[in-house]
């Protein structure tokens, strides 16, 4: 019987629009959690799939130890396809020529993702496509000239003789770095033993490549991680690459937005649940007076609420899933080979969110509701909008557990939660102070203003919660809006239109003139020439460095870089570099070096340290006079060490330069390759295009999320105003009966909301600026700058939004004739 009453109550209240605030709050919580986690997952998986092409596999395990069959057989148990590769530097010999090269030896199934394109000629644009077979090698175009060989000729590698079968056109997992390093060679893995290069202590990188179903991959990754030896590690996407960092920031933004969305939806649910319980107090008293026990009330209202939750959950889940599908469709427009994978996680998270919101926010008001005394049927029910301590604790626990559940990051969710809680506490204190100050101010005002101030004062005292939620809603929307703008702006600055997309490496002094002439003829705008001298860091403050760092080495000797560095000399600090300590040396400085900050930290270098380099057998030393932060995301030549010009100018150097080339003028590159075959052209067009695609993709996702957050914020405001409707009805009835005019009441109402909006908007602005400072520095690693427009936008937005929403919801009350309003109030 109670089920039938509960069903009728639910259905009627739904039809009469009584439930929409709580139902919409829960709906929004479910829909936003499902869509946010689903879209984050979709964007992540799209970018993972794209990055897989750069890894030649879905995931890669790196090792410094020879291949272990148990790893491969474990992967087979998870139905994954595998490939193996070894990478090492070695000297190649051809007749009288020799060249240090980076050799990659691969198994038959390489690559598992992306495309390896080989041609049987020495020209990347000509010749037939070829594939790798035993006894053959494919080499990078510049090696043909450096070694003086043509396809079909033999080269020597260790103890083996291998035939040069052609040129490498595209190698999916080639380093994306602008400095390609040593020229690259691809050979078959089976040919490695015969070279006898692999000796104890040889510096060889072993890689296991895996591809397959993402769920299986993830299970395998977990299983494998538990078995990993200290020599093994997963190859993560390079966080320093432009794509890696764009992805990482977008992910963090989505995560943050999701968390903020949850806070807002939870606030809306809390307010709505409070109002729900308030609206039903008298009904419960009546039902109790008619003989219902507390247990019956719990059953009745419990099932009523269950139906509300179920309803919101169902439509929320459908809306969330539709949003995910729409996002997947959008991603597929950018990534034709994108394979969207269904996952239960967003749905599960959504359901859990809804249940936690309903249980922890509604349970307490429901409990209080069931305890309504039957005697209240004879009393005017007290209108209270305050939260009791238990509900506050339960609500706070709910918000935090949701944040943790959603992000999976304990510290981040705790940090954000504590900040929101501090914010709430601070607002409460400020609200109390303002309210105290409002009284003397009100004394000299017109009556409408006095009424507005009096209303504000009274309500603020009773419900500073309202001001907190208003401020919180505006604050979160502002924060997200500015972070989104910040993020997109940052990305756009990273790759400005017309930025160089073709890099030329290995230019000799003699070729510079020739290249200038070529650029003039083809109307190319050449960037600066950066001189490059390769050298090895030998000692720090006369302490010899260990050149090959290995895990087994337990000696106390300081460890060096482990490879040759590209050294340059410049008199002016490059654009994307920032001196973090010391001073940049001027043109006149001698014997100085500027070190990149991360390398300085890794090698424990300090200002004033003396570094000794070995360049082509010659020694030179320099004193560290500055430490620089380098923006590795910028697609420009970046250097770990920049020496003062006096030190390097006499060494034979090669040069790097860059220019921008329209996609239609690709032919110019072929002409350049023919003119200067030893110059390597590294095209970053693909990288730029990919980064731009991702930015575009993520921008759409971010805008969608901002929309959800704004909706949630508006909902909180609506829920709050709705919660005061009954109280306002009573007051209006009294004021109207006392003869207050429409214009007077309207002015008082508008003024009250405008003041409230101004307060909320101003608090929100201050907090948003503070939060931006923290988030920019801690989460996104962006430099902080003051957001002047925020200080205008925040308070203005507060006034506008709060006034419009307040007016929109309450204007109906003002239009009800006084007598009708009074009757309505008297009848309860």
């Amino acid at each position: 019987m109670w089920a039938s009453i509960a069903w009728r109550l639910f259905w009627r209240e739904l039809k009469r629009g009584e439930l929409w605030v709580i139902a919409f709050a829960l709906f929004l919580a479910v829909a936003s959690v499902i869509s946010l986690s689903g879209i984050t997952q979709g964007v992540k998986s799209a970018l993972m799939q794209r990055s897989a092409q750069f890894n030649a596999a879905d995931i890669v395990l790196r090792s410094s130890q020879p291949f272990d069959d148990s790893v491969l057989s474990l992967a087979q148990q998870y139905n994954l396809t595998t490939a193996r590769q070894m990478q090492f530097d070695s000297m190649l010999f051809a007749a009288d020529n020799m060249q240090l090269s980076t050799i990659k030896a691969v198994s038959d199934s390489y690559p598992l993702r992306g495309e390896l394109i080989l041609r049987n000629s020495s020209d990347v644009t000509n010749g037939n496509l070829a594939s790798l077979t035993r006894g053959h090698v494919f080499i990078e175009a510049r090696l043909f000239d450096l070694l003086g060989v043509v396809p079909g000729q033999q080269i020597e590698l260790g103890m083996s003789q291998l035939i040069v079968a052609g040129v490498i056109v595209n190698e999916p997992d080639a380093p994306l770095s602008v400095f390609g390093g040593a020229p690259r060679v691809i050979m078959h893995l089976d040919d490695v033993p015969a070279t006898q290069i692999v000796q104890p202590g040889s510096r060889i990188g072993y890689r296991y490549l895996f591809a397959g179903d993402s769920a299986q991959l993830s299970r395998f990754e977990t299983d494998m991680t538990a078995r990993m030896t200290p020599h093994q590690r997963w190859q993560k996407m390079d966080a320093e690459s432009a794509i890696g960092s764009a992805l990482e920031r977008a992910e963090r933004f989505l995560l943050l937005a999701g968390l903020l969305g949850i806070v807002l939806a939870a606030c809306a649910a809390a307010v709505a649940a409070g109002r729900y319980s308030q609206r039903h107090t008298q009904s419960v008293a009546v039902i109790k007076a008619l003989g219902a026990t507390t247990a019956q009330i719990r059953l009745l209202y419990g099932s009523h609420l269950f139906l509300v939750v179920l309803f919101s959950l169902l439509i929320g889940a459908v809306a969330g899933q539709v949003a995910i599908e729409a996002a997947n469709w959008g991603i597929a427009q950018f990534l034709p080979d994108y394979r969207a994978q269904f996952s239960w996680r967003p749905l599960g998270l959504g359901i859990l969110t809804c249940l936690i919101c309903a249980l922890l926010f509604a349970a307490r008001p429901m409990w209080r509701l069931s305890k309504t005394a039957a005697i209240d049927v004879l009393k005017q029910p007290a209108l209270s909008l305050g939260l009791d301590k238990l509900q506050l604790i339960a609500g706070a626990a709910a918000i935090w557990s949701l944040m943790w559940l959603f992000s999976g990051e304990f510290t981040l969710s705790l940090g954000l939660f504590v900040l929101c809680a501090l914010f709430a506490g601070l607002l409460m204190a400020v609200a109390a102070l303002l309210v105290r100050m409002a009284k003397p101010v009100a004394a000299g005002q017109s009556s409408a203003r006095r009424l507005a101030l009096a209303n504000l004062r009274r309500r603020l005292w009773a419900n500073s919660f309202q001001l907190i939620t208003f401020s919180l809603a505006i604050f979160l929307a502002l924060l997200l809006y500015f972070l989104r703008a910040e993020l997109i702006g940052q990305w756009q600055r990273q790759i400005p239109v017309g930025a160089p997309n073709q890099f030329l490496v290995n230019i000799t002094e003699q070729q510079r003139l020739q290249l200038d002439q070529f650029a003039l003829t083809h109307q190319l705008q050449l960037d600066n020439y950066y001189p490059v001298v390769r050298g090895r860091l030998m000692s720090i403050n006369d302490e010899q460095l260990l050149q090959e760092a290995s895990k087994e080495d337990r000696s106390d000797q300081r460890v060096g870089v482990g490879r040759e560095l590209n050294l340059t000399w410049l008199s002016a600090l490059p654009d994307n570099n920032q001196v973090v300590s010391g001073n940049w040396f001027g043109a006149e400085a001698t014997g100085q070096v500027s070190v990149e900050a991360e390398l300085a930290e890794r090698l424990a270098l300090m200002l004033g340290d003396e570094l000794a380099f070995s360049i082509g057998g010659q020694q030179l030393s320099a004193t560290i006079s500055s430490i620089r932060k380098v923006d590795w995301n910028s697609l420009q030549p970046n250097f770990y060490m920049i020496l003062s010009p006096d030190l390097l100018a006499s060494f034979p150097a090669t040069y790097i330069t860059a220019f921008y080339l329209d996609a239609e003028r690709g032919i110019v590159l072929n002409q350049l390759a023919r003119l200067m075959p030893t110059v390597t052209v590294i095209s970053v067009d693909n990288i730029i295009k990919q980064v731009n695609d991702i930015i575009e993709q993520v921008t759409v996702a971010l805008s969608f999320i901002l929309l959800i957050i704004c909706l949630a914020a508006v909902l909180v405001l609506v829920a709050q105003v709705q919660a005061t409707l009954e109280q306002r009805e009573q007051e209006l009835a009294i004021l109207r009966t006392l003869g207050a005019q429409y214009a007077f009441l309207r002015n008082a109402l508008v003024l009250e909301f405008a003041l409230l909006g101004l307060m909320a908007g101003s608090f929100a602005t201050i907090l948003a600026e503070l939060m931006l400072l923290i988030v920019q520095q801690r989460v996104f690693n962006l430099p902080f700058q003051l957001h002047y427009n925020l200080w205008l936008l925040g308070p203005l937005l507060g006034v506008l939004v709060v006034t419009v929403l307040g007016w929109w919801q309450l204007k109906r009350l003002l239009r009800i004739p006084g007598a009708e309003l009074m009757r309505k109030v008297l009848q309860g």
Partner: protein, 234 residues
């Protein structure tokens, strides 16, 4: 002559409430006996304590001191839920402000107490009662669609659905105009006589009080005159 059966018996009832500076006694030493099928009016000005007395007699609240028995049940010694069970079985209410559930139709409001008691015939009985109060054609209307008088008629039908042994009416016509109020009063007394229910009516209207067999006048939380005896009203 058959001795009338005592239906409600209150002895030395007192009710105090806590206020900021101590406690305030709103009922003092009330004793009252009401027989089965008797109609009793509790009369008094606003704030005289008559509604508080009604809440104690009906088991909506418990006294601070004294005893109250309803059909032999010691209401003063029972828990909220035990009193609720007694109300469900034996008590009907009509309130000044009708107190219908806005989300339920007229018929559903009438049948609610019977449904809560698990009565399978609730709907049929509800329709009959609505017919008796002249609202058969308004069965599917919501309270907001009914006039004040119609709402109170629904409330009266609701009060009688469980065939209560005692009906408590708190200012049943105070929120209505004189003509409608009169009709409501007629209906209430008519149904009451028809069903042989004990009626306890709280009112400040002496004319209405006069329609009851007995009137008890209250002033400042006390009966005026001898305890529980017929007071001289008018």
């Amino acid at each position: 002559m058959k001795t009338p059966e005592v239906h409600i018996k209150a002895t030395n009832l007192a009710k105090s409430v806590k206020v900021s500076d101590g406690s305030l006694t709103i009922l003092h030493d009330i004793s009252l006996t009401i027989n089965r099928a008797e109609t009793v009016a509790i009369v008094g000005a606003s704030g005289s304590g008559k509604s508080t007395l009604l809440s104690l007699l009906a088991g909506l609240d418990t006294p601070s001191a004294g005893e109250v028995y309803l059909a032999g049940h010691p209401l003063h010694a029972l828990s909220e839920d035990q009193r609720a069970a007694i109300r469900a079985a034996d008590v009907g209410f009509v309130f000044q402000s009708f107190l219908l559930l806005p989300s339920l139709t007229a018929l559903e409001n009438v049948t609610l107490p019977a449904e809560l008691a698990g009565d399978k015939q609730a709907r049929q009985r509800g329709l009959t009662l609505l017919q008796q109060v002249g609202l058969a054609d308004r069965a599917d209307f919501y309270p907001a669609q009914l006039s004040g008088g119609e709402q109170q008629r629904v409330a009266i039908a609701r009060a009688f659905i469980t065939n209560p042994a005692v009906l408590f009416a708190d200012e049943p016509s105070a929120n209505l105009d004189a003509a409608t109020g009169q009709k409501i009063e007629d209906l209430l007394f008519c149904l009451n006589a028809d069903k042989g229910t004990t009626l306890v009516l709280v009112t400040h209207n002496d004319e209405l009080a006069q329609r009851c067999q007995r009137q008890c006048r209250m002033q400042a939380g006390r009966f005026v005159g001898a305890e529980g005896v017929i007071a001289d009203v008018g």
